[in-house]
C-alpha cells in the first residue's frame, strides 16, 4: 500500500470505511427528494421554460429580436457563448490535467465539475447555433455532400475550427464523464431495492461487473483519455479566441489571445465549480469529502489564473500604445474611457483586484468569502467577454459607422434562461447521479483518509 507523507492534510475527514463512502454518496439518491431540492428545481425549471420561450420567439421572429445592429453584430450572444465555454473548461482541467499530475484532491470534485462542463458546453452551443438565424440549417457547418456543387464549408475559417473544437470537446468530455460513471452506476444498481429504479441504473451501468481485467482497462482508458483531453482543453479555448484574433478588428487582433483566453476560462470555470460545490457539500452533507483543503486548492488555482488574466489585460494595454497603431491604441482608450468604460472597470475590479484577496490564507480558507468571491469572478468574467466583444466593434475604423449596443429583452431572457436550463440539468444530476467518484475515492481512502493517516503515523 502506498503511503502518503504525513504532512499532507487528509482528503477524507473522519473515520470512513469503503461502505461508508458508498452509503454517503448513494444514500441521497435512494431516499426521497428533499424539499429544498424540489423548490430549487421548480425555480430553475420556470426560468428554463422562460428561456426556451425566448428562444422560440427568436427563431420565429429572426435575429432582429436581439439588440444587434449593423455595427455591433456580435454582442450578448457571443459573450454568453464564450462565458459558458469558459466555465466548461474547469471540469476537463480537473479531470484530465489534474489526473496527469496525480492530484488526488481532484477525486472529490471531478465528477460534478465534469457534469458542469457538459451542461455548460450545451448552454454555450445554444448561442452560436441560434445566431445562425435559420437554425434548422445548422448542419451546413458540417462537410456533407450537397447539391450546390458540392460546396464545402471553409476549413480556413476560425469559426469552422470552432465547430470541430466544440463538438469534439463536448463529445469527448461526455464520454470521459460516462466512463467514470459506469462503475458507480453499478454500485447504485446493486444497492437499489425498487425494481423500476434497479432496472434504470442497470441500463445506465451497462452491465458493469468490476472484473480485474475491466479495471485494468478502465484505468488505461482514463489515463489515455486524460492525456488526449489535456491538449484538447487548451486547444478549444485557443480556437475560441482565434474567432477574434484572426480578424482585423482593433482590440481583437492580438496574438496573446489564446493563452489569455485559456487562463480566463480556467479562472471562471473554477469559480463556477466553487459556487456549485459550496452549496452541494452543505445540502448533500459531503463535508468530509469536500472540505476546506479542497476549497483552498481551488482558490490557489484562481489566484494563479486570475493573475495571468490580470497580466494579460495590462499587456494588451501596453502593447496597444507600444504598437504605434492609432486604431489599436484608440480601441483601448475607448475601452477604459468610452461609453462602455463602466463594464471595463467592472471587469478590472472583479477579475484582477478581488481574486488577489485569496493571497490571505484567512480569506481563501473561509467558505463564505470564497462563495462570494466565486460569484464576483463569474460576473467579472462575463464582463470580460462583453468588453472584448462589444467595445472593440462598436467603434472601429470609420467614425460614421460607430454605434452602440443595447440588449433587448430577448437577449436578457435567453441568457437568464440558459442559467435556468443549466441549473435544472445540474440539479437533476445531483439528485440521480453519484456526485462523487465513488470508485476513485475508495482507492485513496487508505492513503488520504484522516483516520488511516493517523493510524499510519503511529507506526
Amino acid at each position: 500500500m502506498l503511503k502518503e507523507a504525513s504532512i499532507r492534510q487528509p482528503l477524507i475527514l473522519g473515520h470512513k470505511t469503503y461502505h461508508d463512502i458508498t452509503k454517503d454518496i448513494c444514500g441521497p439518491i435512494e431516499g426521497p427528494a428533499p424539499r429544498e431540492w424540489k423548490i430549487a428545481i421548480t425555480i430553475a425549471a420556470i426560468i428554463a421554460v422562460y428561456g426556451l420561450s425566448c428562444i422560440a420567439y427568436l427563431v420565429a421572429t429572426g435575429i432582429g429580436a436581439w439588440g444587434l445592429n449593423k455595427t455591433v453584430g456580435w454582442a450578448w450572444d457571443i459573450t454568453n457563448f464564450v462565458w459558458w465555454v469558459g466555465i466548461g473548461h474547469a471540469g476537463t482541467l480537473i479531470s484530465a490535467v489534474l489526473l496527469l499530475f496525480r492530484q488526488r484532491w481532484r477525486m472529490a470534485i471531478n465528477r460534478s465539475a465534469e457534469a458542469m462542463t457538459i451542461f455548460a458546453v450545451i448552454m454555450a452551443a445554444i448561442f452560436p447555433v441560434f445566431h445562425m438565424g435559420r437554425v434548422w440549417m445548422a448542419y451546413w457547418t458540417l462537410p456533407l455532400p450537397n447539391q450546390f456543387g458540392s460546396l464545402w464549408p471553409n476549413f480556413n475559417s476560425a469559426l469552422m475550427w470552432d465547430v470541430f473544437a466544440i463538438s469534439t470537446y463536448f463529445s469527448v468530455s461526455l464520454v470521459f464523464w460516462y466512463i467514470g460513471l459506469i462503475p458507480d452506476f453499478a454500485t447504485i444498481r446493486d444497492r437499489m431495492v425498487k425494481p423500476g429504479m434497479k432496472r434504470f441504473y442497470s441500463i445506465l451501468s451497462f452491465g458493469w461487473s468490476g472484473r480485474a481485467k475491466n479495471w485494468t482497462r478502465f484505468e488505461e482508458v482514463s489515463l489515455v483519455l486524460a492525456g488526449i483531453a489535456t491538449p484538447l482543453v487548451f486547444s478549444v479555448h485557443s480556437i475560441v479566441s482565434m474567432d477574434f484574433a484572426t480578424s482585423v478588428v482593433p482590440g481583437w487582433h492580438t496574438t496573446i489571445f489564446p493563452p489569455y483566453f485559456v487562463s480566463g476560462a480556467i479562472f471562471s470555470g473554477f469559480a463556477m465549480v466553487l459556487t456549485l460545490l459550496l452549496i452541494m457539500r452543505k445540502t448533500m452533507k459531503l463535508e468530509s469529502y469536500i472540505h476546506v483543503k479542497h476549497v483552498e486548492y481551488m482558490n490557489i488555482v484562481i489566484i494563479v489564473t486570475g493573475s495571468i488574466v490580470g497580466v494579460a489585460y495590462l499587456t494588451e494595454l501596453f502593447i496597444s500604445w507600444y504598437s504605434g497603431v492609432e486604431y489599436e491604441a484608440y480601441a483601448f482608450i475607448n475601452r477604459f474611457s468610452g461609453p462602455y468604460s463602466w463594464s471595463y472597470w467592472m471587469m478590472m475590479t472583479c477579475n484582477v483586484i478581488s481574486p488577489q484577496l485569496f493571497w490571505f490564507k484567512k480569506i481563501r480558507t473561509n467558505l463564505a468569502a470564497t462563495f462570494v468571491l466565486s460569484i464576483v469572478v463569474n460576473i467579472g468574467m462575463w464582463f470580460e467577454r462583453f468588453v472584448i466583444i462589444v467595445t472593440s466593434i462598436h467603434r472601429d475604423y470609420v467614425p460614421g459607422a460607430w454605434g452602440e449596443f443595447h440588449p433587448s429583452g430577448i437577449d436578457v431572457g435567453m441568457f437568464i434562461g440558459t442559467i435556468g436550463i443549466f441549473f435544472t440539468l445540474f440539479l437533476l444530476f445531483a439528485r440521480y447521479f453519484p456526485v462523487l467518484a465513488l470508485n476513485e475515492l475508495k482507492t485513496i481512502l487508505k492513503m488520504s483518509g484522516e483516520s488511516y493517516k493517523k493510524e499510519a503515523e503511529k507506526h
Binding site: 471553409n154 469527448v172 458493469w208 489515455v224
Partner: protein, 177 residues
C-alpha cells in the same frame, strides 16, 4: 465430476492481495477478481496482462489524422478551391497551417471515441447488458476471487477449499456450474 466454482470473499483489499499471493504461490490459478475499485498491484499476481487499448487509441487517432488530411485536401484544394483574400488555394502544403486545428481536433475525436467504443465492446459493457458479478456487495466494499476446479485440474475440491481457508476469508461459497 461436476465443475465447481469457488467465490472467495474478502472484506479488505489488503486481505485480498495477501490471499491472492498466498494462493498463487501454492499453484492455484485465480480465474477472476471482482472488486469495487481497481486494486493496484493485483494484475501481475493473478496474471492479468496489460491492456493494449492505448495502442488501439493511437491507431484510431492516426486514422483520424489521415482522414482529416485527406478531407481538407479534397474539400479545400481538389474539389472546390476558394479564393479567400488571395490566399493560396491550389496547394495543400501552403494551406496546411490553417488546417492544423481541424486535423488536431479530428484526430482527438477519432482517438477518444474509437478507444472508448473498443473499451466498451471488449468489456462487454453496453446498454442493457446483464451484470455478472457474483455478489451485489462487490460493487460496494467486498472483494471476490473466483477460482474454478476446471482451471485447477491437478487439485481436488477439498484441497482447494483447504488452501482457501488458510487465507483471511470473509465468506466462501461453492457452486456447481
Amino acid at each position: 465430476m461436476a465443475n465447481k466454482v469457488f467465490h472467495v470473499m474478502y472484506d479488505d483489499d489488503q486481505k485480498l492481495m495477501d490471499g491472492a499471493r498466498a494462493l498463487v504461490a501454492k499453484g492455484i490459478r485465480v480465474k477472476d477478481v471482482f472488486s469495487p475499485f481497481p486494486v493496484h498491484g493485483l494484475d501481475p499476481v493473478i496474471g492479468v496482462k496489460r491492456t493494449r487499448l492505448a495502442i488501439a487509441s493511437f491507431m484510431y487517432a492516426s486514422t483520424g489524422t489521415a482522414l482529416a488530411i485527406l478531407g481538407t485536401w479534397y474539400f479545400m484544394i481538389h474539389d472546390w478551391p476558394m479564393n479567400i483574400g488571395g490566399k493560396p488555394s491550389f496547394s495543400w502544403i501552403e494551406n496546411a497551417p490553417a488546417f492544423v486545428p481541424i486535423i488536431f481536433e479530428f484526430s482527438v475525436f477519432c482517438g477518444a471515441h474509437g478507444m472508448v467504443l473498443t473499451y466498451l465492446l471488449r468489456n462487454g459493457t453496453l446498454p442493457g447488458m446483464p451484470a455478472s458479478n457474483p455478489d451485489p456487495r462487490t460493487t460496494d466494499d467486498k472483494f471476490v476471487m473466483e477460482i474454478t476446479t476446471e482451471q485447477n485440474g491437478g487439485m481436488s475440491e477439498s484441497d482447494i477449499e483447504a488452501l482457501i481457508n488458510t487465507t483471511d476469508v470473509y465468506e466462501l461459497s461453492i457452486k456447481n456450474y
